[in-house]
Protein backbone atom coordinates (compact mmCIF):
# COMPACT_ATOMS: atom_id res chain seq x y z
CA UNK A 1 0.00 0.00 0.00
CA UNK A 2 1.46 3.39 -0.97
CA UNK A 3 1.63 6.38 1.34
CA UNK A 4 -0.89 8.13 -0.90
CA UNK A 5 -3.38 5.32 -0.50
CA UNK A 6 -3.04 5.56 3.25
CA UNK A 7 -3.41 9.34 3.26
CA UNK A 8 -6.52 9.36 1.08
CA UNK A 9 -9.38 7.73 2.91
CA UNK A 10 -11.62 5.53 0.83
CA UNK A 11 -15.22 6.79 0.52
CA UNK A 12 -17.13 5.36 3.45
CA UNK A 13 -20.79 5.08 4.33
CA UNK A 14 -22.20 7.72 6.63
CA UNK A 15 -21.37 6.74 10.23
CA UNK A 16 -24.40 5.63 12.19
CA UNK A 17 -23.95 5.69 15.95
CA UNK A 18 -23.83 2.22 17.46
CA UNK A 19 -25.05 1.15 20.86
CA UNK A 20 -21.79 2.21 22.52
CA UNK A 21 -22.03 5.78 21.18
CA UNK A 22 -25.73 5.93 22.03
CA UNK A 23 -25.11 4.68 25.57
CA UNK A 24 -22.23 7.12 26.07
CA UNK A 25 -24.40 9.98 24.78
CA UNK A 26 -27.23 8.90 27.08
CA UNK A 27 -24.93 8.79 30.12
CA UNK A 28 -23.51 12.24 29.32
CA UNK A 29 -27.01 13.66 28.81
CA UNK A 30 -28.19 12.30 32.19
CA UNK A 31 -25.24 13.78 34.05
CA UNK A 32 -25.48 17.10 32.19
CA UNK A 33 -29.20 17.32 32.92
CA UNK A 34 -28.63 16.74 36.64
CA UNK A 35 -25.80 19.29 36.80
CA UNK A 36 -27.93 21.79 34.86
CA UNK A 37 -30.82 21.34 37.33
CA UNK A 38 -28.52 21.75 40.34
CA UNK A 39 -26.95 24.89 38.88
CA UNK A 40 -30.36 26.42 38.20
CA UNK A 41 -31.47 25.58 41.71
CA UNK A 42 -28.55 27.57 43.12
CA UNK A 43 -29.22 30.70 41.05
CA UNK A 44 -30.73 33.71 42.80
CA UNK A 45 -34.42 33.80 41.94
CA UNK A 46 -37.91 34.04 43.37
CA UNK A 47 -38.53 30.33 43.89
CA UNK A 48 -34.90 29.49 44.70
CA UNK A 49 -35.20 31.75 47.74
CA UNK A 50 -38.31 29.98 49.06
CA UNK A 51 -38.26 27.34 51.78
CA UNK A 52 -38.23 23.93 50.02
CA UNK A 53 -40.90 22.59 52.40
CA UNK A 54 -43.25 25.44 51.41
CA UNK A 55 -42.44 24.82 47.74
CA UNK A 56 -43.11 21.11 48.01
CA UNK A 57 -46.44 21.67 49.79
CA UNK A 58 -47.51 24.30 47.23
CA UNK A 59 -46.49 21.92 44.45
CA UNK A 60 -48.53 19.03 45.86
CA UNK A 61 -51.61 21.24 46.36
CA UNK A 62 -51.47 22.62 42.82
CA UNK A 63 -50.77 19.27 41.17
CA UNK A 64 -53.71 17.64 42.98
CA UNK A 65 -55.98 20.54 41.96
CA UNK A 66 -54.72 20.31 38.37
CA UNK A 67 -55.42 16.58 38.27
CA UNK A 68 -59.01 17.17 39.46
CA UNK A 69 -59.67 20.16 37.18
CA UNK A 70 -61.96 19.75 34.15
CA UNK A 71 -61.92 23.40 33.01
CA UNK A 72 -59.49 24.64 30.37
CA UNK A 73 -59.37 28.26 31.62
CA UNK A 74 -58.24 27.04 35.06
CA UNK A 75 -55.61 24.76 33.52
CA UNK A 76 -54.39 27.51 31.22
CA UNK A 77 -54.08 29.78 34.27
CA UNK A 78 -51.84 27.16 35.94
CA UNK A 79 -49.61 26.97 32.85
CA UNK A 80 -49.35 30.77 32.67
CA UNK A 81 -48.68 31.08 36.41
CA UNK A 82 -45.96 28.41 36.17
CA UNK A 83 -44.35 30.30 33.28
CA UNK A 84 -44.51 33.56 35.26
CA UNK A 85 -42.88 31.85 38.24
CA UNK A 86 -40.18 30.41 35.95
CA UNK A 87 -39.48 33.89 34.61
CA UNK A 88 -39.35 35.36 38.13
CA UNK A 89 -36.92 32.59 39.06
CA UNK A 90 -34.49 33.57 36.27
CA UNK A 91 -34.90 30.29 34.39
CA UNK A 92 -34.12 30.12 30.69
CA UNK A 93 -37.68 30.52 29.33
CA UNK A 94 -36.96 28.93 25.96
CA UNK A 95 -35.53 25.87 27.61
CA UNK A 96 -38.31 25.74 30.19
CA UNK A 97 -41.04 25.78 27.53
CA UNK A 98 -39.13 23.20 25.46
CA UNK A 99 -38.71 20.88 28.45
CA UNK A 100 -42.39 21.13 29.31
CA UNK A 101 -43.98 20.82 25.87
CA UNK A 102 -41.51 18.71 23.90
CA UNK A 103 -41.80 15.72 26.11
CA UNK A 104 -44.63 14.18 28.01
CA UNK A 105 -47.52 16.40 26.74
CA UNK A 106 -46.57 15.66 23.13
CA UNK A 107 -46.51 11.94 23.87
CA UNK A 108 -49.85 12.25 25.69
CA UNK A 109 -51.21 14.05 22.61
CA UNK A 110 -50.34 11.06 20.43
CA UNK A 111 -52.04 8.74 22.91
CA UNK A 112 -55.20 10.84 23.11
CA UNK A 113 -55.61 11.41 19.31
CA UNK A 114 -58.04 8.46 18.77
CA UNK A 115 -60.52 10.00 21.24
CA UNK A 116 -60.94 12.96 18.85
CA UNK A 117 -62.57 10.58 16.35
CA UNK A 118 -64.59 8.41 18.69
CA UNK A 119 -65.86 10.60 21.58
CA UNK A 120 -68.85 12.92 21.09
CA UNK A 121 -71.67 13.50 18.68
CA UNK A 122 -71.12 17.02 17.26
CA UNK A 123 -69.01 16.49 14.14
CA UNK A 124 -66.76 19.45 13.29
CA UNK A 125 -64.89 17.93 10.40
CA UNK A 126 -65.27 14.98 8.04
CA UNK A 127 -62.21 13.05 6.90
CA UNK A 128 -63.13 10.85 3.93
CA UNK A 129 -61.29 7.55 3.85
CA UNK A 130 -61.54 4.89 1.16
CA UNK A 131 -63.62 2.52 3.27
CA UNK A 132 -65.69 5.15 5.08
CA UNK A 133 -65.67 8.60 6.71
CA UNK A 134 -63.90 9.59 9.92
CA UNK A 135 -65.46 12.40 11.98
CA UNK A 136 -63.64 14.82 14.23
CA UNK A 137 -65.98 15.47 17.16
CA UNK A 138 -66.14 18.67 19.13
CA UNK A 139 -66.46 16.85 22.47
CA UNK A 140 -63.50 14.58 21.66
CA UNK A 141 -61.39 17.55 20.64
CA UNK A 142 -62.28 19.40 23.85
CA UNK A 143 -61.49 16.35 26.00
CA UNK A 144 -58.14 15.87 24.22
CA UNK A 145 -57.30 19.58 24.63
CA UNK A 146 -58.09 19.51 28.35
CA UNK A 147 -56.09 16.29 28.80
CA UNK A 148 -53.01 17.76 27.08
CA UNK A 149 -53.37 21.01 28.98
CA UNK A 150 -53.67 19.12 32.27
CA UNK A 151 -50.52 17.11 31.53
CA UNK A 152 -48.71 20.29 30.42
CA UNK A 153 -49.73 22.13 33.61
CA UNK A 154 -48.59 19.24 35.84
CA UNK A 155 -45.28 18.88 34.00
CA UNK A 156 -44.74 22.67 34.21
CA UNK A 157 -45.16 22.52 37.99
CA UNK A 158 -42.87 19.48 38.31
CA UNK A 159 -40.11 21.00 36.17
CA UNK A 160 -40.44 24.27 38.04
CA UNK A 161 -39.90 22.46 41.34
CA UNK A 162 -36.95 20.44 40.02
CA UNK A 163 -35.19 23.41 38.41
CA UNK A 164 -35.53 25.67 41.44
CA UNK A 165 -34.88 23.19 44.27
CA UNK A 166 -31.74 21.11 44.82
CA UNK A 167 -32.59 17.41 44.90
CA UNK A 168 -31.17 17.15 48.42
CA UNK A 169 -33.65 19.78 49.65
CA UNK A 170 -36.59 18.03 47.97
CA UNK A 171 -35.66 14.81 49.74
CA UNK A 172 -35.23 16.49 53.11
CA UNK A 173 -38.57 18.25 52.69
CA UNK A 174 -40.26 14.85 52.47
CA UNK A 175 -39.73 14.69 56.24
CA UNK A 176 -42.33 17.45 56.45
CA UNK A 177 -44.83 14.95 54.99
CA UNK A 178 -43.87 12.33 57.58
CA UNK A 179 -42.10 10.13 55.03
CA UNK A 180 -39.95 7.63 57.07
CA UNK A 181 -36.34 8.79 57.33
CA UNK A 182 -34.95 5.43 56.24
CA UNK A 183 -36.92 5.74 53.00
CA UNK A 184 -35.46 9.22 52.44
CA UNK A 185 -31.96 7.89 53.18
CA UNK A 186 -32.36 5.11 50.61
CA UNK A 187 -33.67 7.56 48.00
CA UNK A 188 -30.83 9.98 48.67
CA UNK A 189 -28.17 7.28 48.45
CA UNK A 190 -29.70 5.87 45.29
CA UNK A 191 -29.57 9.29 43.65
CA UNK A 192 -26.01 9.80 44.90
CA UNK A 193 -24.67 6.49 43.60
CA UNK A 194 -26.49 6.48 40.27
CA UNK A 195 -24.01 9.13 39.15
CA UNK A 196 -21.05 7.16 40.38
CA UNK A 197 -22.19 4.07 38.49
CA UNK A 198 -22.93 6.16 35.41
CA UNK A 199 -19.34 7.35 35.63
CA UNK A 200 -18.11 3.75 35.98
CA UNK A 201 -20.29 2.66 33.07
CA UNK A 202 -18.99 5.53 30.99
CA UNK A 203 -15.42 4.35 31.67
CA UNK A 204 -16.29 0.76 30.74
CA UNK A 205 -17.92 1.78 27.47
CA UNK A 206 -15.05 4.09 26.55
CA UNK A 207 -12.52 1.38 27.38
CA UNK A 208 -14.38 -1.01 25.10
CA UNK A 209 -14.66 1.57 22.32
CA UNK A 210 -10.92 2.26 22.46
CA UNK A 211 -10.09 -1.44 22.05
CA UNK A 212 -12.53 -2.41 19.32
CA UNK A 213 -10.45 -2.64 16.16
CA UNK A 214 -12.78 -4.67 13.96
CA UNK A 215 -16.48 -5.06 13.28
CA UNK A 216 -18.17 -7.00 16.08
CA UNK A 217 -21.12 -9.30 15.66
CA UNK A 218 -24.47 -8.76 17.35
CA UNK A 219 -23.81 -11.82 19.47
CA UNK A 220 -20.50 -10.40 20.71
CA UNK A 221 -22.15 -7.08 21.51
CA UNK A 222 -24.94 -8.78 23.44
CA UNK A 223 -22.39 -10.87 25.34
CA UNK A 224 -20.47 -7.73 26.21
CA UNK A 225 -23.58 -5.94 27.49
CA UNK A 226 -24.50 -8.91 29.67
CA UNK A 227 -20.97 -9.22 31.05
CA UNK A 228 -20.73 -5.46 31.73
CA UNK A 229 -24.05 -5.64 33.61
CA UNK A 230 -22.57 -8.43 35.70
CA UNK A 231 -19.38 -6.47 36.40
CA UNK A 232 -21.37 -3.37 37.38
CA UNK A 233 -23.60 -5.38 39.70
CA UNK A 234 -20.61 -7.00 41.34
CA UNK A 235 -18.99 -3.58 41.82
CA UNK A 236 -22.19 -2.17 43.27
CA UNK A 237 -22.37 -5.03 45.82
CA UNK A 238 -18.77 -4.46 46.83
CA UNK A 239 -19.33 -0.74 47.09
CA UNK A 240 -22.51 -1.13 49.14
CA UNK A 241 -20.52 -3.17 51.64
CA UNK A 242 -17.80 -0.48 51.79
CA UNK A 243 -20.36 2.33 52.11
CA UNK A 244 -22.05 0.51 54.98
CA UNK A 245 -18.67 0.19 56.72
CA UNK A 246 -18.05 3.91 56.12
CA UNK A 247 -21.42 4.66 57.74
CA UNK A 248 -20.59 2.44 60.72
CA UNK A 249 -17.20 4.14 61.02
CA UNK A 250 -19.05 7.41 61.58
CA UNK A 251 -21.33 6.01 64.24
CA UNK A 252 -24.35 4.92 62.15
CA UNK A 253 -26.79 3.20 64.50
CA UNK A 254 -29.73 2.78 62.09
CA UNK A 255 -31.40 5.87 63.59
CA UNK A 256 -30.98 8.28 60.70
CA UNK A 257 -31.11 12.00 61.46
CA UNK A 258 -30.80 14.93 59.06
CA UNK A 259 -29.82 18.54 59.48
CA UNK A 260 -32.50 20.94 58.24
CA UNK A 261 -31.22 24.48 58.02
CA UNK A 262 -34.36 25.97 56.52
CA UNK A 263 -36.00 29.16 57.71
CA UNK A 264 -39.69 29.62 57.15
CA UNK A 265 -40.21 33.28 56.27
CA UNK A 266 -43.30 35.44 55.74
CA UNK A 267 -42.85 35.20 51.96
CA UNK A 268 -42.90 31.39 52.23
CA UNK A 269 -46.18 31.55 54.14
CA UNK A 270 -47.60 33.98 51.55
CA UNK A 271 -46.58 31.62 48.75
CA UNK A 272 -48.23 28.66 50.47
CA UNK A 273 -51.44 30.62 51.07
CA UNK A 274 -51.46 31.78 47.44
CA UNK A 275 -50.96 28.19 46.26
CA UNK A 276 -53.74 26.96 48.57
CA UNK A 277 -56.11 29.70 47.31
CA UNK A 278 -55.11 28.91 43.71
CA UNK A 279 -55.76 25.19 44.25
CA UNK A 280 -59.18 25.95 45.76
CA UNK A 281 -60.00 28.22 42.81
CA UNK A 282 -58.92 25.56 40.28
CA UNK A 283 -61.12 22.94 41.93
CA UNK A 284 -63.98 25.44 42.44
CA UNK A 285 -63.90 26.30 38.73
CA UNK A 286 -65.31 22.80 38.04
CA UNK A 287 -68.62 24.01 39.53
CA UNK A 288 -68.47 27.77 38.92
CA UNK A 289 -67.61 27.84 35.21
CA UNK A 290 -70.45 26.93 32.81
Amino acid sequence: MTAEAIATPAPTRRHRPGFVEKTLAGISASVESAIFSEENARRPGFLQRRDPRAKLLAFVLLVVATAISREWPALLAVVLAANAAAWASSLDMGLFVKRVWLGIPLFSGVVIIPSVFFIGHTALLEVPLGIGTLHVYREGLAAAGIFILRVGASVSLAILLILTTPWADILKSLRFFRVPTIFILILAMTYRYIFLFLHTLNGMFQARKSRVVARTSGREQRWWIVSSMGVLMSRSFRMSDDVYRAMLARGFNHQFRTLMDYRFRVADGAMMLTAAAGAAAIIGANWILP
Binding site: V31, A34, I35, E38, R42, P166, W167, A168, L171, A188, M189, Y191, R192, Y193, F195, L196, H199, M239, D242, V243, R245, A246, M247, L248, A249, R250, G251, F252, N253, H254, Q255, R257, T258, L259, D261
Partner: protein, 274 residues
Protein backbone atom coordinates in the same frame (compact mmCIF):
# COMPACT_ATOMS: atom_id res chain seq x y z
CA UNK B 1 6.29 10.10 73.80
CA UNK B 2 6.93 6.92 75.81
CA UNK B 3 5.03 8.43 78.78
CA UNK B 4 1.97 8.96 76.65
CA UNK B 5 -0.96 6.59 77.06
CA UNK B 6 -1.21 3.62 74.75
CA UNK B 7 -3.89 4.08 72.09
CA UNK B 8 -3.52 0.85 70.12
CA UNK B 9 -1.85 -2.34 71.28
CA UNK B 10 -1.85 -5.31 68.93
CA UNK B 11 -0.36 -8.64 69.90
CA UNK B 12 0.27 -11.30 67.29
CA UNK B 13 -2.81 -10.25 65.33
CA UNK B 14 -3.82 -12.22 62.27
CA UNK B 15 -6.63 -11.47 59.84
CA UNK B 16 -8.06 -13.83 57.24
CA UNK B 17 -10.35 -12.65 54.45
CA UNK B 18 -13.17 -15.11 53.84
CA UNK B 19 -11.63 -17.22 56.63
CA UNK B 20 -8.87 -18.47 54.35
CA UNK B 21 -7.00 -15.64 52.58
CA UNK B 22 -4.28 -14.24 54.79
CA UNK B 23 -4.37 -10.43 54.89
CA UNK B 24 -2.33 -9.77 58.05
CA UNK B 25 -0.05 -12.10 59.94
CA UNK B 26 1.56 -11.85 63.37
CA UNK B 27 1.14 -8.09 63.69
CA UNK B 28 2.38 -6.78 67.01
CA UNK B 29 2.60 -3.06 67.58
CA UNK B 30 1.94 -0.31 70.07
CA UNK B 31 0.86 3.18 69.09
CA UNK B 32 0.72 5.89 71.72
CA UNK B 33 -1.41 9.00 72.06
CA UNK B 34 -0.30 11.88 69.81
CA UNK B 35 2.01 9.77 67.66
CA UNK B 36 2.24 10.39 63.92
CA UNK B 37 2.74 7.06 62.24
CA UNK B 38 3.06 6.12 58.58
CA UNK B 39 2.15 2.60 57.49
CA UNK B 40 4.30 1.80 54.51
CA UNK B 41 3.76 -1.18 52.31
CA UNK B 42 3.36 -2.23 48.72
CA UNK B 43 -0.04 -2.77 47.12
CA UNK B 44 -1.81 -5.70 48.74
CA UNK B 45 0.44 -5.77 51.80
CA UNK B 46 -2.52 -5.30 54.15
CA UNK B 47 -2.31 -1.57 55.01
CA UNK B 48 -6.01 -0.93 54.39
CA UNK B 49 -6.95 -4.06 56.30
CA UNK B 50 -4.85 -2.94 59.25
CA UNK B 51 -6.58 0.48 59.23
CA UNK B 52 -10.02 -1.17 59.16
CA UNK B 53 -8.91 -3.33 62.06
CA UNK B 54 -7.74 -0.27 64.00
CA UNK B 55 -11.09 1.39 63.26
CA UNK B 56 -12.97 -1.60 64.66
CA UNK B 57 -14.70 -2.31 61.35
CA UNK B 58 -13.29 -5.82 61.26
CA UNK B 59 -12.07 -8.02 64.08
CA UNK B 60 -8.84 -10.00 64.30
CA UNK B 61 -9.08 -13.64 63.27
CA UNK B 62 -6.44 -14.40 65.88
CA UNK B 63 -4.39 -12.46 68.42
CA UNK B 64 -5.32 -9.63 70.80
CA UNK B 65 -6.09 -5.99 70.18
CA UNK B 66 -6.77 -3.26 72.72
CA UNK B 67 -7.74 0.34 72.04
CA UNK B 68 -7.58 3.02 74.75
CA UNK B 69 -6.84 0.21 77.19
CA UNK B 70 -10.02 -1.73 76.33
CA UNK B 71 -10.03 -5.11 74.68
CA UNK B 72 -11.83 -4.83 71.32
CA UNK B 73 -11.32 -8.23 69.78
CA UNK B 74 -14.94 -8.25 68.60
CA UNK B 75 -17.10 -5.17 68.10
CA UNK B 76 -20.76 -5.68 67.37
CA UNK B 77 -21.89 -3.11 64.77
CA UNK B 78 -24.76 -1.85 66.91
CA UNK B 79 -23.19 -2.07 70.34
CA UNK B 80 -22.60 0.93 72.59
CA UNK B 81 -18.95 -0.06 72.62
CA UNK B 82 -18.84 0.32 68.81
CA UNK B 83 -20.48 3.76 68.97
CA UNK B 84 -18.11 4.87 71.74
CA UNK B 85 -15.22 3.58 69.71
CA UNK B 86 -16.19 5.47 66.55
CA UNK B 87 -16.48 8.71 68.49
CA UNK B 88 -12.78 8.50 69.23
CA UNK B 89 -11.39 6.89 66.10
CA UNK B 90 -12.11 8.21 62.61
CA UNK B 91 -11.15 6.55 59.33
CA UNK B 92 -10.76 8.36 56.01
CA UNK B 93 -11.32 5.70 53.36
CA UNK B 94 -9.10 5.42 50.31
CA UNK B 95 -12.03 5.94 47.94
CA UNK B 96 -13.82 9.19 48.82
CA UNK B 97 -16.90 8.03 46.90
CA UNK B 98 -17.39 5.37 49.56
CA UNK B 99 -17.31 7.97 52.28
CA UNK B 100 -19.43 10.66 50.64
CA UNK B 101 -22.80 8.89 50.59
CA UNK B 102 -25.06 11.87 51.35
CA UNK B 103 -26.69 14.18 48.78
CA UNK B 104 -24.50 17.17 49.69
CA UNK B 105 -21.10 17.79 51.26
CA UNK B 106 -22.75 19.58 54.20
CA UNK B 107 -25.00 16.58 54.88
CA UNK B 108 -22.01 14.26 54.79
CA UNK B 109 -20.01 16.34 57.24
CA UNK B 110 -23.08 16.55 59.52
CA UNK B 111 -23.74 12.79 59.34
CA UNK B 112 -21.32 11.75 62.12
CA UNK B 113 -22.26 14.45 64.67
CA UNK B 114 -25.97 13.79 64.02
CA UNK B 115 -25.44 10.07 64.63
CA UNK B 116 -23.78 10.96 67.92
CA UNK B 117 -27.05 12.61 68.95
CA UNK B 118 -25.41 15.97 69.55
CA UNK B 119 -27.60 19.09 69.86
CA UNK B 120 -28.20 20.78 66.49
CA UNK B 121 -26.28 23.90 67.57
CA UNK B 122 -23.23 21.77 68.25
CA UNK B 123 -23.71 19.84 64.98
CA UNK B 124 -23.75 23.13 63.03
CA UNK B 125 -20.65 24.36 64.88
CA UNK B 126 -18.73 21.18 64.07
CA UNK B 127 -19.80 21.20 60.43
CA UNK B 128 -18.62 24.79 60.00
CA UNK B 129 -15.36 24.11 61.83
CA UNK B 130 -14.57 21.02 59.71
CA UNK B 131 -15.48 22.72 56.42
CA UNK B 132 -13.38 25.76 57.37
CA UNK B 133 -10.44 23.61 58.42
CA UNK B 134 -10.51 21.82 55.05
CA UNK B 135 -11.14 25.13 53.25
CA UNK B 136 -14.26 23.83 51.50
CA UNK B 137 -17.01 26.00 53.00
CA UNK B 138 -17.97 27.00 49.45
CA UNK B 139 -18.72 23.33 48.63
CA UNK B 140 -21.21 22.87 51.47
CA UNK B 141 -24.31 22.61 49.26
CA UNK B 142 -22.63 20.80 46.37
CA UNK B 143 -23.48 17.24 45.42
CA UNK B 144 -20.49 14.84 45.56
CA UNK B 145 -20.77 14.09 41.82
CA UNK B 146 -19.99 17.76 41.13
CA UNK B 147 -16.63 17.64 42.94
CA UNK B 148 -13.12 17.06 41.63
CA UNK B 149 -10.92 14.29 43.08
CA UNK B 150 -9.11 16.69 45.42
CA UNK B 151 -12.33 18.30 46.60
CA UNK B 152 -13.79 14.87 47.33
CA UNK B 153 -10.74 13.96 49.42
CA UNK B 154 -11.05 17.16 51.44
CA UNK B 155 -14.77 16.60 51.94
CA UNK B 156 -14.10 13.02 53.06
CA UNK B 157 -11.53 14.23 55.63
CA UNK B 158 -13.95 16.95 56.82
CA UNK B 159 -16.64 14.29 57.30
CA UNK B 160 -14.33 12.53 59.76
CA UNK B 161 -12.99 15.68 61.45
CA UNK B 162 -16.53 16.76 62.37
CA UNK B 163 -16.58 13.78 64.76
CA UNK B 164 -13.60 15.43 66.51
CA UNK B 165 -11.88 12.06 66.97
CA UNK B 166 -8.74 11.57 69.05
CA UNK B 167 -7.31 9.32 66.34
CA UNK B 168 -7.44 9.94 62.60
CA UNK B 169 -6.66 7.02 60.29
CA UNK B 170 -6.03 7.95 56.66
CA UNK B 171 -5.90 5.38 53.89
CA UNK B 172 -3.81 6.57 50.93
CA UNK B 173 -4.92 10.20 51.39
CA UNK B 174 -2.84 11.54 48.50
CA UNK B 175 -3.36 8.78 45.94
CA UNK B 176 -4.33 9.96 42.43
CA UNK B 177 -4.11 13.66 43.27
CA UNK B 178 -2.35 16.36 41.31
CA UNK B 179 0.80 17.75 42.98
CA UNK B 180 -0.77 20.99 44.23
CA UNK B 181 -3.78 19.25 45.82
CA UNK B 182 -1.49 16.57 47.21
CA UNK B 183 0.68 19.07 49.06
CA UNK B 184 -2.31 21.03 50.33
CA UNK B 185 -3.58 17.78 51.87
CA UNK B 186 -0.15 16.91 53.24
CA UNK B 187 -0.04 20.28 54.99
CA UNK B 188 -3.52 19.71 56.40
CA UNK B 189 -2.51 16.30 57.74
CA UNK B 190 0.60 17.86 59.25
CA UNK B 191 -1.59 20.47 60.98
CA UNK B 192 -3.83 17.74 62.41
CA UNK B 193 -0.76 16.14 63.96
CA UNK B 194 0.32 19.47 65.40
CA UNK B 195 -3.08 19.74 67.10
CA UNK B 196 -2.20 16.69 69.17
CA UNK B 197 -4.28 14.10 67.33
CA UNK B 198 -2.91 10.62 66.83
CA UNK B 199 -2.39 10.27 63.08
CA UNK B 200 -1.90 7.01 61.23
CA UNK B 201 -1.39 7.34 57.49
CA UNK B 202 -1.25 4.35 55.17
CA UNK B 203 0.67 5.18 52.01
CA UNK B 204 3.26 4.01 49.58
CA UNK B 205 4.23 7.55 48.57
CA UNK B 206 7.57 7.97 50.25
CA UNK B 207 7.95 11.70 49.61
CA UNK B 208 5.10 12.63 51.98
CA UNK B 209 6.26 10.38 54.83
CA UNK B 210 8.85 12.72 56.48
CA UNK B 211 6.20 15.47 56.62
CA UNK B 212 3.22 13.55 57.96
CA UNK B 213 4.95 11.04 60.23
CA UNK B 214 7.71 10.74 62.82
CA UNK B 215 7.52 6.97 63.00
CA UNK B 216 7.23 4.44 60.21
CA UNK B 217 5.88 0.90 60.27
CA UNK B 218 6.81 -1.09 57.19
CA UNK B 219 4.55 -3.99 56.30
CA UNK B 220 6.21 -6.53 54.09
CA UNK B 221 4.75 -8.53 51.26
CA UNK B 222 4.50 -11.44 53.71
CA UNK B 223 1.92 -9.25 55.55
CA UNK B 224 4.05 -8.98 58.67
CA UNK B 225 5.68 -5.94 60.22
CA UNK B 226 9.04 -5.73 58.49
CA UNK B 227 10.41 -2.72 60.32
CA UNK B 228 9.36 -0.15 62.91
CA UNK B 229 11.39 2.97 63.61
CA UNK B 230 11.96 6.69 63.13
CA UNK B 231 10.91 7.99 59.70
CA UNK B 232 14.36 9.28 58.75
CA UNK B 233 16.12 6.01 59.59
CA UNK B 234 13.59 3.87 57.73
CA UNK B 235 13.61 6.08 54.63
CA UNK B 236 17.39 5.92 54.43
CA UNK B 237 17.43 2.12 54.61
CA UNK B 238 17.46 1.44 50.89
CA UNK B 239 17.74 -2.33 51.24
CA UNK B 240 14.68 -2.40 53.49
CA UNK B 241 12.60 -0.31 51.07
CA UNK B 242 13.60 -2.56 48.18
CA UNK B 243 12.69 -5.64 50.22
CA UNK B 244 9.27 -4.14 51.05
CA UNK B 245 8.75 -3.38 47.34
CA UNK B 246 8.48 0.33 48.07
CA UNK B 247 11.27 1.26 45.68
CA UNK B 248 12.84 -0.60 42.83
CA UNK B 249 16.58 -0.98 42.92
CA UNK B 250 16.85 0.74 39.55
CA UNK B 251 14.36 3.51 40.27
CA UNK B 252 15.53 6.48 42.23
CA UNK B 253 13.68 8.51 44.76
CA UNK B 254 14.38 12.13 45.64
CA UNK B 255 13.57 13.01 49.20
CA UNK B 256 15.06 15.70 51.37
CA UNK B 257 18.47 14.31 50.55
CA UNK B 258 20.37 13.87 47.34
CA UNK B 259 22.37 10.80 46.48
CA UNK B 260 24.53 9.54 43.74
CA UNK B 261 25.24 6.05 42.52
CA UNK B 262 25.95 4.18 39.39
CA UNK B 263 23.93 1.55 37.66
CA UNK B 264 25.51 -1.77 36.86
CA UNK B 265 27.10 -1.23 33.47
CA UNK B 266 25.65 -4.52 32.33
CA UNK B 267 22.11 -3.40 33.02
CA UNK B 268 21.61 -0.09 31.26
CA UNK B 269 24.98 0.31 29.74
CA UNK B 270 25.17 3.89 30.99
CA UNK B 271 25.91 5.79 34.15
CA UNK B 272 23.29 7.91 35.92
CA UNK B 273 24.49 10.31 38.56
CA UNK B 274 22.12 12.33 40.75
Amino acid sequence: MSDARVTFALEDVQYLYNRRNLALDGISLTIREGERVALLGANGSGKSTLLKLLDGLISPSAGRMSVFGEQVDTLDDDSDAAHRFHRRVGLVFQDPDVQLFSPTVGDDVAFGPLQLGLPLVEVRRRVEAALTQMDIMHLRDRAPFELSGGEKKRAAIASVLSLEPDVVLLDEPTASLDPRTKWVLVNLIQQLGQHGKTIIVATHELEIVPIVADRVLVIGENRRVLADGPATAILEDRALLVEANLIHEHLHRHLAFTHSHEHDAGHHGETTVH
